[in-house]
Subunit: 452 residues, 2 copies
């Protein structure tokens, strides 16, 4: 497609993100033109219901309910997908890329599930698929991994990438709130949805860490490859005990390399209080990348919301536009609409058609090695420690500390908090199973990993 004297943008969706992007494209158009050296115009917006946007004060004819008016318009060079959900969003993105349009998206679910196939298609067509807004809102983590940190062999990525859960955990840590109470408050403030499952069960964070891990390790990490544990079982006493032991509790999304395998997981974990990530509070997000050259680099900022997401989407729109301009200036000829489609060394084509929810065994965390925090509800009588100690010892799990807490005289029960030295996940799981079979153990109240 010949690069045009004016760059036209088609927008799919007019919700919170779409609305922000539309406003930026219309209100900031002269600023953007200065930054790119060419005007960038919003040409068409796909909406579900024209009537709903009657009061939006948009130029006549800008709204449409017919996707083809954007996807088949040869004068539209950049498509911004802001619909959310996998379908029809993924199909529209595929169609846009196939017809040689640059695509910008905020859709973490589509990129996590169909990213490799879409990236392959974009590569074939010589266009960009940009998705800075899919992770970390206004924090430039995607672009940094793609470009600035590209020379590094990344060892690990650790992040707080779900603002809803971080808000809930911050309330529980600072004010001793119960989970349900903190969730309720997050819902009232608009930080959590009516159905909070995606956030509190870690599903949203799984999408995001699979995107970051794929970028960092140059391999396809699908959501099904990511171990996941939500925050719903945390209780106020976990925060008290953790604090007593010198730790904060944060829901972390982590991807590390262990013996050449990627260990990706999302779970609430204990972090030393002086760790930079332990200080990230409220709806803020942060991501720490550790590379062989850069060392530890931390990014911190607002991970969600209309403006931060618009910042990321518009950054990508500017980048796509600049590459259209650069292409035009360097070629001085119309680039052919159908680019080379030489076979790439990676064959991601299959991934286009299927939902990659299934995990692979080499990515399981069974052989993960870390320290653990265990909270047990036990009978308060002599010999309990000995029995628990024997089970852990048999599993080759070495105890670092034991706290006895909250003795209940009437019920003759007590809480025991155990921290371990580095142990193997599968042994810990087996030992926990053995512990629950002991008469003296009423239940295993919580198991958290300790990240240092």
């Amino acid at each position: 497609m010949a690069s045009p004297p004016q760059i036209n943008v088609g927008l799919l969706g007019m919700g919170v993100v779409g609305g922000g992007v539309a406003a930026a494209l219309i209100e900031q158009s002269s600023d953007i033109a200065l930054k790119i050296g060419r005007p960038v115009k919003l040409k068409k917006i796909l909406v579900r219901d024209l009537g709903k946007h009657a009061g939006a004060n948009l130029p006549t004819g800008m709204l449409t309910t017919i996707p083809e008016e954007i996807l088949n318009d040869n004068e539209i060079h950049v498509v911004v997908e802001a619909m959310g959900g996998t379908q029809p969003a993924a199909g529209y993105m595929k169609q846009a890329l196939a017809s040689g349009k640059h695509v910008v998206t905020a859709n973490k679910e589509v990129i996590a599930k169909y990213g490799p196939g879409l990236i392959y298609l974009a590569h074939q067509k010589g266009v960009n698929l940009l998705y800075e807004a899919s992770v970390g809102g206004g924090i430039p983590i995607v672009g940094s991994l793609m470009r600035d940190l590209a020379a590094n062999n990344v060892h690990s990525i650790k992040g707080i990438i779900n603002g809803t859960t971080n808000y809930i955990l911050t309330r529980m840590a600072n004010d001793g709130a119960e989970f349900s109470q903190a969730l309720n408050e997050a819902q009232q403030r608009g930080y959590a949805e009516a159905d909070p499952t995606n956030d509190v069960e870690g599903i949203d964070a799984v999408y995001k860490i699979s995107i970051l891990a794929s970028l960092a390790f140059h391999r396809s990490v699908s959501p099904g490859d990511v171990y996941r544990q939500g925050i719903t079982r945390l209780e106020p006493q976990d925060f008290r005990y953790a604090s007593e032991l010198g730790y904060a509790i944060k829901s972390l999304a982590i991807a590390t390399l262990q013996n050449g395998n990627i260990k990706a997981r999302v779970y609430p974990a204990l972090l030393p209080l002086d760790h930079m990530l332990a200080k990230v509070d409220g709806v803020y997000n942060a991501v720490e990348v550790e590379g062989d050259l850069c060392g530890k680099v931390l990014f911190h900022g607002l991970g969600a919301g209309r403006e931060p997401t618009t910042s990321a989407v518009m950054g990508d729109v500017i980048e796509a536009s600049r590459s259209l301009v650069a292409q035009d200036e360097s070629t001085k000829v119309s680039a052919s609409q159908n680019r080379s489609s030489e076979p790439d060394s990676f064959d991601y084509a299959d991934a286009l058609t299927e939902d990659r929810e299934t995990g692979s065994s080499e990515n399981s965390i069974d052989d993960l090695i870390c320290k653990y925090y265990l909270r047990l509800n036990v009978q308060d009588r002599p010999g309990v420690f000995a029995q628990i100690g024997k089970v852990l010892g048999d599993g080759e799990i070495s105890i670092a500390s034991v706290l006895q807490k909250d003795t209940n005289q009437a019920e003759q029960t007590a809480e025991i908090v155990i921290t371990t030295h580095p142990s193997i996940e599968s042994s810990v799981q087996a030992s926990l199973k053995a512990l629950t079979e002991l008469d003296v153990v009423r239940n295993v109240s919580n198991v958290l990993r300790i990240e240092e």
Copy 2:
């Protein structure tokens, strides 16, 4: 220049940075080829003295003492400048750009002083001038401002961008060390040079903030436009008093917009203890960017050293290489070696030839408004407060708090620490002059701004 089947790099300089880049290019060449899709080879290295590198185990003929062997070699596509200093480095960069080569540099002084002219030249020639390594070492702040945050109207940039001074201030804050003692230690550990002037007087940070401000505000901010105050006058008691008032002391590089004018400055300032930048310790760097869309985004990492700098330089080499590949794939024709040289709306051409050390009056900080911390050495006798209070009141400077400290019975002197409400810089300076003329004021020991 036609994009080649292999991308050849010429390296100027083989010091700490050059050595790191050479090692990365040689040892990581297969990784880099995978990331780019084409081999990237180090072809030639300019050194001062061939004999000095005889033991470096480099392929025969790779070293040269003749710059033209790199600058005039049509098979070299990317030049990495790692010499430091302004000349001949700036001249070589100009020559490389003029002959259509991409240039990557870690040279903050050249970019701060000659950046606009070199950028203009690169634009004319259709090549990239990349300088991620000039600010913040391994922290991707330059690329983020250029691209990911490009949609924002930036309100402010605040950073700790000199690791040497941050190390010294951290030692003074945590251990009560004197400046000279902390400097000495920094020198012994290799964090400070034998002549520490560039660091402790803020000159290094001035270069860096002028680069960041130019990027963030899309205007040319020269080193002479930046107000500068070093850290040499800080004394241990300043840290004690600041801490008592709830503040840390950090050497900050700041650029803000006030009434459309850029206020850029480097000075030690008080920061609330819970501010993210107050927690940045030792040789770490951090930069906080506040934009209208992204809100506050913080970047934190290692700001200097061989590996972090190599991370940044190599990220830029990969980017330049990718743009050579993309250009080749999109055109399928040889791009003409001499690109369009249409006049740009900005005329930076003049800036190529002169050292822009002179400041402009609209960038002075005379009308800056902030809170102040004043430490005065006064005679310990009745009526002192009244006299000082009158001078400040006459200057329309409103006092927020007063502490009387360290009374010296023998000399009948005391230290007074005053913090003010927001005041105008020029009034504060005038009042300080008036204060020093009072009989009761022996001297003004320190003046620091408070950033909140």
